[in-house]
Structures are given as structure tokens and as C-alpha cells.
């Protein structure tokens, strides 16, 4: 048998593969060769073969047949074999017990080997993959190596001990004696890993924490040496001496100093020094500064400050700088650095600056006052920056909310609609957000933007607030009356601006459909403001009053919850044409902008609808197709009452019957007629089409009950494999009732050779626009698939004809964000629609 090819030849061969299939074939061929070599118990080339296997494993090919070969390599006398064997064991071995037992013996032998590198390999492997049994068996050897004078082994033993403690916490005591001398070590690797070990022990046991508090002076000394030592080529990273060790020590200090006066005091001094001496022009410095700031905030620095009164002048200055002001400056400095330069570290430092800025802002309001101007600078581009650096939506919302809480008066006006849009889009955060906002404005209406966002959210999600169904926060008990109390006090507070009052009144109005037992109270409030001295407010109130009295049947539809906008703009607030509290000049000629869908004008039509016919749409001067701006407009619409415009065209009720070709707003198709009585049936729709699975809905109206719609679903499969265990589930809003009949089969045959049919009956007593959420589960190509989808494109035919006006109102309230998302939409359709909506409004509100 010829010698097997080398790893590098294998790599070279694989790289010549043009296709995935070709690569797979090469690998299979090589695997066969390796297997036969393994069978022949070839000792010479075993390590070469395992090395090749590891490479294939990295590329995602199965390599577990090499597991036993790894064990044989470990048992070999040669370092080369052991090196590959241990690596292979770490990469390939699973939790199999028998293999672990074999390994335990090998590792035990190697831990006592005469060569430090063999010992190192054994430690490394144990510290990576040691099971709890292995850890129990070998903890003694690890402890022995932790006390050795060989720093190469000692640092590995320390990390191995961490692994042992994680696996078997009760073995912690065993390592306690060995920790005594760890910090006396000069070698930074050992120091670093020792600090990791100490941190692990402190976090696991309060006893250990108390025990290790006595190490604070030693840690302080190490830290001091690091910052005072000057340049050492060994540990220098961008001009800073071993930042990794510094960060680790600062973290340990934080744990040790938390809730402990003495240790906090012992570290105050050094923290001030680190904070003042660290060069922050590079990422490395920021890493340290960030940890320092966090540590300062976590420990009891204030008590330290008080007792420092008797210290020397120099000390005092140092300690004074520890004050939160310093953190403020640090944060804003980091902010500046971050915004000025675009390099990697500085972007990261923006993230850090924001985090620490916000932590500080929470702690001390006075500091915020003193550094107002710096903060304001930081806030200038707050939204864009935060959006770019936000690791999650929750963080994003929290962050902007916290900024609004403390420095709300200084943010740009568009922060309000932006935040509202963000909240709207984070469905899972609604309950959480409304609760946070409710708490934030309790008794404090000084931050107007915050109050506006809060009012909007309370109006929108008041039901969630009252039901107290928030998982993330301590749930609060709020009654409907209490919520209304808040909103009413916003209305009467003399801190509230006209805009804020508008938000509050609209919120109260919206609550009339979300609250159950306080509708009369809401009616009363609304009617009181019908005679408000504020004209805008008065107009709103009068309109809402009319909604209660004349159009009560439309109220729930009009005030329905805002839909989620599926796309979020990636651009900054500059995209928002109209901002809160400002009024765009409204051109008199409402010429449609040249191209693209026009969400904004849609929104303004809506506004028409709510505002009566003496307000006309504001056509934005900058045409935009971003759904975000649509969001902004929509939000404005329900909150902002300062829109003005020229009078609308005279009402032309006669033209209504002529409306024959409005677009299907819901699916963006303008070809299908909306009001075509000649059409015999209701057009079918494609409700879902993804991964080869297509689901079509066909509709029939029940003969016995016109409120019942019979929907037949047909699922087909265009892929080359059958979909089995197919289950279709559907849910509709509460105002509907749904009956799902059993399906014709549970297998969707491949290549569109057949369909599953299933009948759904929907009862729609309130004649609302139907929306449906569907859940699909099936097995395809051996894996279980699951998908959720929302079907919004039901034809409006599903409602009764007499409700057409309402239908118009409704569809224009609900769907426009979806329309806005359509990349290609017929512009003519929109124009048409605008005209229609105007006419409908003039009729409806005549």
C-alpha cells in the first residue's frame, strides 16, 4: 500500500474542486483511504491521517470514525502523536462514557509526564472537555500542578481548576490552599489565569468572597505596578501594559468591593489613578476605562470619598475626580473620540460610552445637570448612532427611553415619532415598554417628549398596561381609572404643551376601545374638551365626540391598534419629513410626487379622515418611499395636531358610485375590482408561498348566513420531495369566530401533483376586515419545518356592501404600511385612492 498523501496535498486537491459535489467526491475517496489505513493499524501514518480528518471535520464532513484513532495517538510515546491525538480528542470526541474512561488514564499519566509540553497538552484537554467524572478523578493532579514553580504549567493548571470547579463545584475547597501564593507570581500569564480562578470562586461562593477580600491590597498593588511600570515590550498592547490583566483585575475588584466598605475604600485610590492615567486614544485604553467606570459605579465609592477628607491634597484631588462627574467626562470623552474617528476601536467605544453614560445618568441627576452641554452634544445624533450600535431592540428602546427620562427636553423633535415607531415595531416589547413609560411619567411631566411617547403608548397599549401581563418587569397593578387619572393630569398640567395635550387626548380616546368599564368617563372628558380654549384641542375633542355619537359603529375600527411595519429604515431621522411639533409648509397644489409609493400622502388622507374637511393633506416636499416616514406620519397623525393646510375640494357625494377601480390596498394589486357587483365570486388569493409550499384561499359566502365566509385552502408543493405531517392552523382577531374543518390529507405531494384541501368557516358579526395568522408545520427532507405568517390580503368583498364607507375608512387606516412596503406599486392607483378617500370622507362626515 502506498503512503497516504500529506495534509497539504489533500488541501491542495480539495481547493481545486470546482463544485461542492466534486469536493464531496474527493473527500469521500480520501476518507475511504483513511479508513483502510486505520484498519491496517498503520502506526506510522496515523497522525497524518487524523490531521487530514480534522481538516475535513472543519469543512463539515463526518469524522467520528477517527475518535478511537485519537485515543491511540494519545497513548503513543511520541509528542507529535500526542499533540494531534489530544487536538483530535478535543474536536471530535463526544460525551461517550467508555472513551472518557480510557482518556482519564492517559491524561493521568501525561499529567505526570517528564516533558512540560505533554503535561500542558493533558491539562489543556482536561480543561476543555473533562467530564465531571474525569474532573473528580484528576482534580488532585491539577491541584498539584497549580503549586508547581513552572509558570507554563501553572497557568494551565489554574484554568483547568476553573473548569473542574464549573463541573464539580464541591471540589472548590480543594484548590483553596493553592490559591494562597498565586498572586505573588511574577509571570503575567499565571497572574491572569489566577485572577480568573479567584473570580470564579468568588462568584460561586459567598464564603470564598469573604475570604478573598483580604487579597484586595495585593490586587491593588499589581494594578498599580501595571500602570506605573512604564513600557515593557513583553506585555505592551498599543502602549498599555497588559490591558487584559488590568481588565481582569478590575472585574475581580468589582466583585470584591460590592457591598463592602473596607475593600471599596482600599481600591478607591487606585481606581482614580487608573481612570486618570489611562490613555484613551486607543481601544485598549477604552477597555480599561470602561471596566474602571463600571467598577467605580458598582462599589461603594461614596463612603470612601467621605472618609478621604483627611487625606493629602493630592489624594483629595484624585478622589474627588472619582466623583460621578469624572465618569460623565469620561463617557463624553469617549463619545467624542468615537464620533470623531471611524476606526474600529472608536466605534466600539461609542457603544461603551453610551452604556456607561446611561448608567451614570441613572445614578446622579446633579452630575447630569452640571454636564448638560456635553450630554446635549452627545445627544445630537443620538438616534442614528444608537440605532447603528444597538445590540438589540430592547437595549435600543431602553436607551432612548432613559435619555428621554433625564434629558428629554434637549433631544431633537423627531425622537418622539422615531421612538414610537420603534416601539410599534417591537411587538414583543409592547407590554414592557408601556409599563416602563407609565412608571417614568408618574408624577413628573417635565420631560415633554417622554410624556408624549408615554401618552401615545398608553393610548395604544393601555389594555396591556391594565392587564399587567409583563414578563420582564415586576408587574404593576394599575386600574383603568388610574391610567385615565394620569392622562387627565397631563391634560391639565401647566407644564404640558399643546402638542402633549393633543397626544394625551388622543390617547384617552383610543382607550375607549381598549378599556371596558370607563367608557362613560372617557366620553365625559372628551366632551369637556369640546369647549377647550385651545383651538386644536377643541377641534380634536369635537371630532372625537362626533365619533362617539354619530359614528360609534366605526369607532373600534378607526381606533384599532397600529399595525406593525415590517421594515425599519436604516437611515437616520433626516428621512422623516415631518417632525413633531413642526409644520411643513403645505403647498397648495397637491401635485403627486413623481415616483414611488406615497405613504406620507396616505397618512395625510387618513388625517383628513379624522380631522374633517377643513384640513388637507400635507404633501411632503421631499418624496420618500421609506416606510419609516410613513410610520412617522401615521404617528403624527394620531398625536400631532398642528397640521395645517388649504381647504379640501368641495364634497361630491354623487361621484361615489362611480368609483369602480380602486386598488386592492391590501395586496397592492390594482387590477382587481373592488366594487364590481357583476363579479360572480370573490377572487381567490395566495396566502402563503415559501420554500415551494403554496397555499391558496378561495372564498364563498355561506348561503344560510351572510356573515359566514367559507374559505377553502389548497396547499400545493412544488419541490421534489413530499411534505409529510402537514398541519395548518389559523387564528383570527377576537371579533371573528373561526371553525377549522379537518384536512383532506396530511401529505402534500411533490411536484404539484396534488393538493391538500381544508375548509375554514369564518363568522364575521362585526363586518370587519378579515385578518388571519397562520401556522404551518410539516416535515420536509427529513427536517421539521415550522412557519408563521400573517394573511392580510383578504379581499374586502368578505364584508357586507352596506359597510363600504367603513371599509374604506378601515382599509385606509390599517393597510398603508403594508402598501408602503410594496416596492412596485401602481401610482395611479394611489392617486385614485386619494380622491376616493376624500370623497368618502366628505360623505361620511357630512
Amino acid at each position: 500500500m502506498p503512503a497516504p498523501i500529506r495534509l497539504r496535498e489533500l488541501i491542495r486537491t480539495i481547493r481545486t474542486a470546482r463544485t461542492q459535489a466534486e469536493e464531496r467526491e474527493m473527500i469521500q475517496k480520501e476518507c475511504a483511504a483513511i479508513r483502510s489505513s486505520f484498519r491496517e493499524e498503520d502506526n506510522t501514518y496515523r497522525c497524518r491521517n487524523v490531521a487530514k480528518l480534522l481538516y475535513m471535520h472543519m469543512l463539515g464532513y463526518p469524522a467520528h470514525f477517527g475518535q478511537l484513532e485519537c485515543l491511540k495517538l494519545i497513548a503513543s510515546q511520541k509528542f507529535t502523536d500526542k499533540r494531534i491525538g489530544y487536538l483530535g480528542a478535543m474536536l471530535l470526541l463526544d460525551e461517550r462514557q467508555d472513551v472518557h474512561l480510557l482518556m482519564t488514564n492517559c491524561i493521568k499519566n501525561d499529567l505526570n509526564h517528564s516533558t512540560q509540553f505533554v503535561q500542558g497538552l493533558a491539562l489543556c484537554t482536561l480543561g476543555c472537555m473533562g467530564s465531571s467524572e474525569m474532573c473528580r478523578d484528576l482534580a488532585g493532579e491539577v491541584e498539584k500542578l497549580l503549586k508547581t514553580s513552572n509558570s507554563y504549567l501553572r497557568k494551565k493548571a489554574a484554568l483547568c481548576a476553573v473548569h473542574v470547579i464549573r463541573k464539580v463545584p464541591e471540589l472548590m475547597e480543594m484548590f483553596l490552599p493553592a490559591t494562597k501564593n498565586l498572586l505573588n507570581e511574577k509571570n503575567h500569564g499565571v497572574l491572569h489565569t489566577s485572577v480568573v480562578l479567584l473570580t470564579e470562586m468568588c462568584e460561586r461562593s459567598p464564603d470564598m468572597l469573604a475570604h478573598f477580600r483580604k487579597l484586595v491590597p495585593q490586587l491593588v498593588r499589581i494594578l498599580k505596578n501595571l500602570i506605573m511600570s512604564g513600557y515593557s515590550p513583553e506585555h505592551d498592547v498599543s502602549g498599555i501594559s497588559d490591558p487584559f490583566l488590568q481588565v481582569r483585575i478590575l472585574r475581580l475588584l468589582r466583585i470584591l468591593g460590592r457591598n463592602d466598605d473596607d475593600s471599596s475604600e482600599a481600591m478607591n485610590d487606585i481606581l482614580a489613578q487608573v481612570a486618570t492615567n489611562t490613555e484613551t486614544s486607543k481601544n485598549v485604553g477604552n477597555a480599561i476605562l470602561y471596566e474602571t467606570v463600571l467598577t467605580i459605579m458598582d462599589i461603594k465609592s461614596e463612603s470612601g470619598l467621605r472618609s478621604s477628607a483627611c487625606g493629602s491634597q493630592n489624594q483629595k484631588r484624585m478622589l474627588a475626580s472619582l466623583e460621578l462627574e469624572l465618569q460623565m467626562v469620561v463617557s463624553s470623552l469617549m463619545w467624542e473620540l468615537g464620533t470623531k474617528f471611524g476606526s474600529i476601536g472608536n466605534q466600539a467605544s461609542i457603544y461603551v460610552a453610551l452604556t456607561s453614560l446611561l448608567k451614570t445618568v441613572q445614578t446622579d441627576h446633579n452630575a447630569v445637570q452640571r454636564h448638560r452641554s456635553t450630554i446635549v452634544d452627545c445627544l445630537k445624533d443620538l438616534d442614528v448612532s444608537i440605532k447603528r450600535y444597538a445590540p438589540s431592540k430592547r437595549w435600543h428602546i431602553d436607551t432612548i427611553m432613559r435619555v428621554l427620562t433625564t434629558a428629554g427636553s434637549y433631544v431633537r423633535d423627531d425622537a418622539v415619532p422615531n421612538l414610537i415607531q420603534l416601539i410599534t415595531n417591537s411587538v414583543e416589547m409592547h407590554a414592557y415598554t408601556v409599563q416602563r413609560l407609565y412608571k417614568a411619567i408618574l408624577g413628573d411631566y417635565s420631560q415633554q417628549p417622554l410624556v408624549q411617547v408615554a401618552a401615545w403608548c398608553i393610548g395604544e397599549y393601555g389594555d396591556l398596561l391594565v392587564s399587567g401581563q409583563c414578563e420582564e418587569e415586576e408587574p404593576i397593578q394599575v386600574t383603568e381609572d388610574e391610567v385615565l387619572d394620569i392622562l387627565e393630569s397631563v391634560l391639565i398640567s401647566n407644564m404640558s404643551t399643546s402638542v402633549t395635550r393633543g397626544y394625551a387626548l388622543t390617547a384617552i380616546m383610543k382607550l375607549s376601545t381598549r378599556f371596558t368599564c370607563t367608557v362613560n368617563r372617557i366620553k365625559k372628558v372628551v366632551s369637556i374638551y369640546g369647549s377647550s380654549i385651545d383651538v386644536e384641542l377643541q377641534q380634536r375633542a369635537v371630532e372625537y365626540n362626533a365619533l362617539f355619537k354619530k359614528y360609534d359603529h366605526m369607532r373600534s375600527a378607526l381606533l384599532e391598534r397600529m399595525p406593525v411595519m415590517e421594515k425599519v429604515t436604516t437611515n437616520g431621522p433626516s428621512e422623516i419629513v415631518q417632525t413633531n411639533g413642526e409644520t411643513e409648509p403645505a403647498p397648495l397644489e397637491t401635485k403627486p410626487p413623481p415616483s414611488g409609493p406615497q405613504p406620507t400622502s396616505q397618512a395625510n388622507d387618513l388625517l383628513d379622515l379624522l380631522g374633517g374637511n377643513d384640513i388637507t393633506p400635507v404633501i411632503p416636499t421631499v418624496p420618500t418611499s421609506k416606510p419609516a416616514s410613513a410610520g412617522g406620519e401615521l404617528l403624527d397623525l394620531l398625536g400631532d395636531i398642528t397640521l395645517t393646510g388649504a381647504p379640501a375640494a368641495a364634497p361630491t357625494p354623487a361621484s361615489v358610485p362611480q368609483i369602480s377601480q380602486p386598488p386592492f390596498l391590501l395586496d397592492g394589486l390594482s387590477s382587481q375590482p373592488l366594487f364590481n357587483d357583476i363579479t360572480p365570486g370573490i377572487p381567490s388569493i395566495t396566502a402563503y408561498s415559501k420554500n415551494g409550499l403554496k397555499i391558496e384561499f378561495t372564498f364563498e359566502r355561506s348561503n344560510t348566513n351572510p356573515s359566514v365566509t367559507v374559505i377553502t385552502i389548497q396547499a400545493s408543493n412544488s419541490t421534489e420531495l413530499d411534505m409529510t405531517d402537514f398541519v395548518f392552523q389559523a387564528a383570527v382577531p377576537k371579533t371573528f369566530q373561526l371553525q377549522l374543518l379537518s384536512p383532506s390529507s396530511s401529505v402534500v405531494p411533490a411536484f404539484n401533483t396534488g393538493t391538500i384541501t381544508q375548509v375554514i368557516k369564518v363568522l364575521n358579526p362585526q363586518k370587519q376586515q378579515l385578518r388571519m395568522r397562520i401556522k404551518l408545520t410539516y416535515n420536509h427532507k427529513g427536517s421539521a419545518m415550522q412557519d408563521l405568517a400573517e394573511v392580510n390580503n383578504f379581499p374586502p368583498h368578505l364584508k357586507e356592501k352596506s359597510l363600504r364607507f367603513c371599509e374604506f375608512l378601515h382599509i385606509s387606516v390599517i393597510p398603508f404600511p403594508h402598501v408602503a412596503l410594496q416596492e412596485e406599486t401602481d401610482l395611479g392607483g394611489f392617486d385614485n385612492l386619494r380622491a376616493i378617500v376624500k370623497q368618502v370622507i366628505s360623505v361620511a362626515f357630512e
Binding site: 497539504r8 509528542f79 507529535t80 480543561g127 476543555c128 466600539a348 450600535y389
Partner: protein
Amino acid sequence: MIQAILVFNNHGKPRLVRFYQRFPEEIQQQIVRETFHLVLKRDDNICNFLEGGSLIGGADYKLIYRHYATLYFVFCVDSSESELGILDLIQVFVETLDKCFENVCELDLIFHMDKVCPLLEQGSWKTEFRTCQATCVHYILQEVVMGGMVLETNMNEIVAQIEAQNRLEKSEGGLSAAPARAVSAVKNINLPEIPRNINIGDLNIKVPNLSQFV
């Protein structure tokens, strides 16, 4: 704790995959792919931190990455690690690789075997070193991170230990075993004893100097 260290090229081909938390093989591959797609769509001018993909544990884990020309270095860490610190650690790791493989270009080359091959023919011990490169990167990483925790950040120390181990390996004949042992035997002939500048044409000048080598 570091959960995973992934290195892949701009096309998503894995070049180093190391998990410190046990995942089944197919999940590992999916994580690499998911991570690649998460990282790929990010501009060079935006933050180097992002939330982990759903497979690796989502928001509880952060992906911290750096992009060097053709390679992405991604570390997946939990909250017990300093994000900024990890950013520097990646730099240390890459610089260490760079030192072990002599220069940055070569680092690039390690992963592009086709370009490396001409260099491989030169036959120095470093060549020998490169032949096992797929495992070698692992060995270097092993001296930097152990069991998901940072072990050593002093580059000189790491390089020294790696070189010592490579020498040990070489003394045993290295990966290529018997054939290489013959080569090393030839190389190990005491070189100073052989006159280096023998030039047949200038025999008269060079030969007298030979005595000082003996």
C-alpha cells in the same frame, strides 16, 4: 467565557472552527454559516459587536469580530468577557499567527494553499511547519485560549512555546515521520565544517582560507 472561535474567509469557507461548548457537528456547521451571514452583511464602518445568532444562544452571547482582508475572525462570548478586551485579543491572536508564519501576507497564504505551495518547495523547517498548518493554527490558539478562557496574551511567550514544541516534534521526525527523518539527518550535518564559498574558478583564493573552518 468564549463559546466559539470561528475564522472563515470572505466566501464563508471555514478556516478555523473551535467550539468550547459542545454542539453536534451539523449544528456547528450551521452556526458557522449563520455567523458568516450575520457578519457578512455588516459594513466595515459599523460596530464590531453584535448579538449571536439564534443557534448559539441569541442575545445572551455577543459576536465580536474583526475583518482582515480576506478573513473574518469571530469570537462568540458571553457577558463575563469584556467586549473591548476581546477585540484586542483577536488582534493579539492574529499578530501571533503573523509572527509564527513570519508575515501578514503569509498568514493570508496559510489559508490559501495554492499560493503557499511555491513557498513550500523551499524546504526550510518552517516549510515543515506549514505542512501541518491546519492543525498548527489550532496549536497556536491552544496557547492563547484554553477551555474558553484566555490563557496567555504575551506574544513572545506564545511564540517561544510554539517553537519549542515544534522543535520537539521535529526531533521526533515530525508529521512526515521516516522520510523527513532522513532529510533532517542530512540537514543536521555540522554545517560550519563545510566550506560554503567553494568557487571552482577562484580556487587559488578560496582554498587557503579553508583552514580556519576546520
